[in-house]
Symmetry: C2
Subunit: 158 residues, 2 copies
């Protein structure tokens, strides 16, 4: 599983946030959903569907894959999580994270697979530029950068 560093932004969101959001929107809360939401809120890394299932089963052993996918679809539809592929470093699957208060960039090392998140004011400027130049209403934006971290860069002296 790909690791997430720094991050922090979604730690600013209080525990039970996703559950509260769904309840506030009139979505029925089941034991299975609670287990899945807790996994997503407690996640230290970006999780794929299989990892979410595995961890959620600690709480609720009988939970099914299908329920995980359906819950992820639900959360996406409500705009509460983002779906990433993290440059496919980990294969063809997708990764999920709670939509952060402040959008951030994902910077992934192609050699060691570490994923660092950083925020940038330029990111918001780009969004503004798109809105103005294309008369486009930006709902969300995603930046994924691939390269080599200090420890892994091919030419250290470069």
């Amino acid at each position: 599983m790909l690791q997430k560093e720094s991050g922090g932004s979604n730690k600013a969101v209080s525990r039970g946030y996703l559950q509260g959001q769904l309840v506030a929107r009139g979505v029925r809360m089941t034991q299975q959903r609670r287990a899945i939401l807790q996994v997503m809120e407690g996640a230290r890394g970006h999780l794929d569907a299989a990892s979410i299932l595995r961890i959620a089963r600690h709480d609720h052993p009988d939970i099914d894959r299908v329920t995980v996918y359906r819950t992820l679809t639900l959360l996406k539809r409500h705009g509460l999580i983002d779906e990433l592929d993290l440059l496919h470093l980990g294969g063809v699957g997708h990764y999920y994270e709670q939509r952060p208060l402040q959008q951030h960039l994902h910077v992934a090392c192609l050699r060691c697979g570490r994923v660092v998140e950083i925020a940038s004011p330029l990111f918001d400027k780009i969004k503004g530029q798109v809105e103005r130049n294309l008369a486009f209403r930006v709902a969300f934006a995603r930046v994924e950068i691939g390269g080599y971290c200090e420890k892994c860069r091919p030419e250290t002296s470069g």
Copy 2:
């Protein structure tokens, strides 16, 4: 298939560019690869593996899916194409485009599925920022923005 507008950046690359690059790197050139490379260079849109296969079969009817996947892997390994998911508007599959001379942003309308590409100097600034702040060597970067275009925006009066 998702449409690509504007773009233009990869039209600046001469015809046969991919083929030339591979040959220059000592990669064996087969009829099947030639057919696939021509499809990618002539593409007006972002293509997924199935579309590439379908079009390549005009030239070479017996070509197999597997060969398409293997050629895409080859091109990715050489950094000659980029793999995108375009916010999964078209399902779980991936889309491919020849790596452009100037990197651009992909802006996708969540309702009509149209994908517009634009370049932004801020994009390069962000890359510079990442390189400096994280001591990171940026190999490539990808920006995907989702929202609503002028025609599709939910609140027209907003």
